[in-house]
């Protein structure tokens, strides 16, 4: 990798993979998309790297979403997040359940709100979120407010349902 892209890789790869994992639910796919993203950066090193990298990565995710069915993605989510060992302890089951509920709650957000939230979780400031998603900076506060509220409400609703079911 070139010097400039090597710097980008060192600084942003982990964050990019984490955001992509949260976005897709599949660690392997997150790595693949991150690798493809950096391959593009190798071809054309960006001037504004972090928004560029994350924007390209999110575009790749959206492209894939258009090509695959939602059912297939859910299967991938299921496979990626199932443990491979026998009978995990209760606390692990509880945590897995919570992770599943968070992911389900995240899925209730619209794409823009969800992505803004995930970028914020990676430490993006409002200017960077706006640049990455192509939004006006003035809209970011409102977008995040809405995303946070919907995430929490959806999560609480999911918790209530699972309490009723159990």
């Amino acid at each position: 990798m070139s010097g400039p892209v090597a710097e980008l890789f060192a600084q942003y790869y982990e964050s990019l993979v984490r955001m992509l994992y949260r976005r897709t639910g599949d660690r392997d796919r997150a790595e693949e998309i991150a690798q493809e993203t950096f391959a593009r950066a190798v071809a054309a090193p960006p001037r504004n790297p972090r928004p560029w990298l994350f924007a390209v990565a999110l575009n790749l995710v959206r492209e894939e979403a258009r090509r695959t069915t939602r059912r297939d993605r859910r299967l991938v989510l299921y496979r990626a997040e199932q443990p491979e060992h026998a009978a995990p302890p209760d606390e692990l089951l509880d945590r897995e359940e919570r992770v599943g509920q968070v992911r389900a709650a995240l899925d209730t957000l619209n794409q823009r709100d969800r992505e803004a939230l995930l970028l914020k979780a990676e430490g993006f400031n409002y200017d960077e979120i706006a640049a990455t998603l192509g939004l006006a900076r003035g809209a970011i506060g409102t977008t995040l407010a809405r995303a946070r509220r919907r995430l929490v409400e959806a999560y609480r609703a999911g918790e209530d349902n699972s309490d009723v079911a159990s």
Binding site: G3, V17, R18, F38, A39, V42, A43, L118
Partner: protein, 318 residues
Amino acid sequence: MSHLEEGVLHALLDGEIPSGELPPIQAHLAGCAECRARLEAERGLLGEAAGLVELLELPAGEAVAPRRIAARAPWTRRLAWAASIVAALGLGYAGRGWRVSDVRTPVQALARTNAATPQPDAARELAKAPEPSADLPAPAPPAPKPTHASRRPAAAAPPPQREPGNPVAEQRQVKVAAETRLEETVAAANRVDSGTARPATAAAVGSERAAAPALGRLQDAGALKQLRGASPPLLAPAEPISLPDAVRRLGGSLRLVEGLVPLRLEAQGQTVRVVYAVAQGELVLSQQLIDGRIVAVLSAPPGFPADSLSKLRARVRE
């Protein structure tokens, strides 16, 4: 009295209100109990949402072989890169070993191929004057910082860029530093092989069109064009090498793409190149022994499908 909008409250909590706009907001809060209460409610909401997101921790994967190094590669060179990145760097792929003693029919075929295949006209490509790269990226921006304390619950996975000496970040540095030296060789070799001014990046072709909207917002098109036209540094031409020599040069093993038959083996400086023929041209697995481990980069010709390249990356074996 008009109250503060929800978006303003969150921007305030995120530390994103420009300093010039703060005084009127603070003045309003000082005089409005309702907005103060709303601000606290939104603070709780922000913290709860951040905590939920951070529950989605990255599961352990096989991606990076942990290894400590002393220094990262400096931001020194200005080049247009052609290679795609492969996930084969130091990865613990299981597979049969290909040692010096494993000299079988493919070796003989390679030997015959090496003797017969004409080398590309390196002198013509290397003689091209490099174009100035006027608009290259500045050094990477500072690492992201948390904008609000409430988004750091106990269960959070710490972002590596905020913690100097973090082993995960250092693992990435291993990968990066090792690749830096090899990448320069690969880019030059691809320029020689392809004989074109356009970088040979399979991932870029086709998908560049999809990335164009984001690129367009963030980059100057003229600068991008200049970057693509820049030439790599001068390097020695690739020379044929036998399989045993290649294996010896790489410390006793050689990585290959499983399922493909090599067209030829070449050496270029310290780099061994395994060249495969594909419909679009030549696929090259460049590898070098760096700090005791093989660092490999798979590069594809223009037009090579990104999906196929991903699959081939996963098939690189020792």
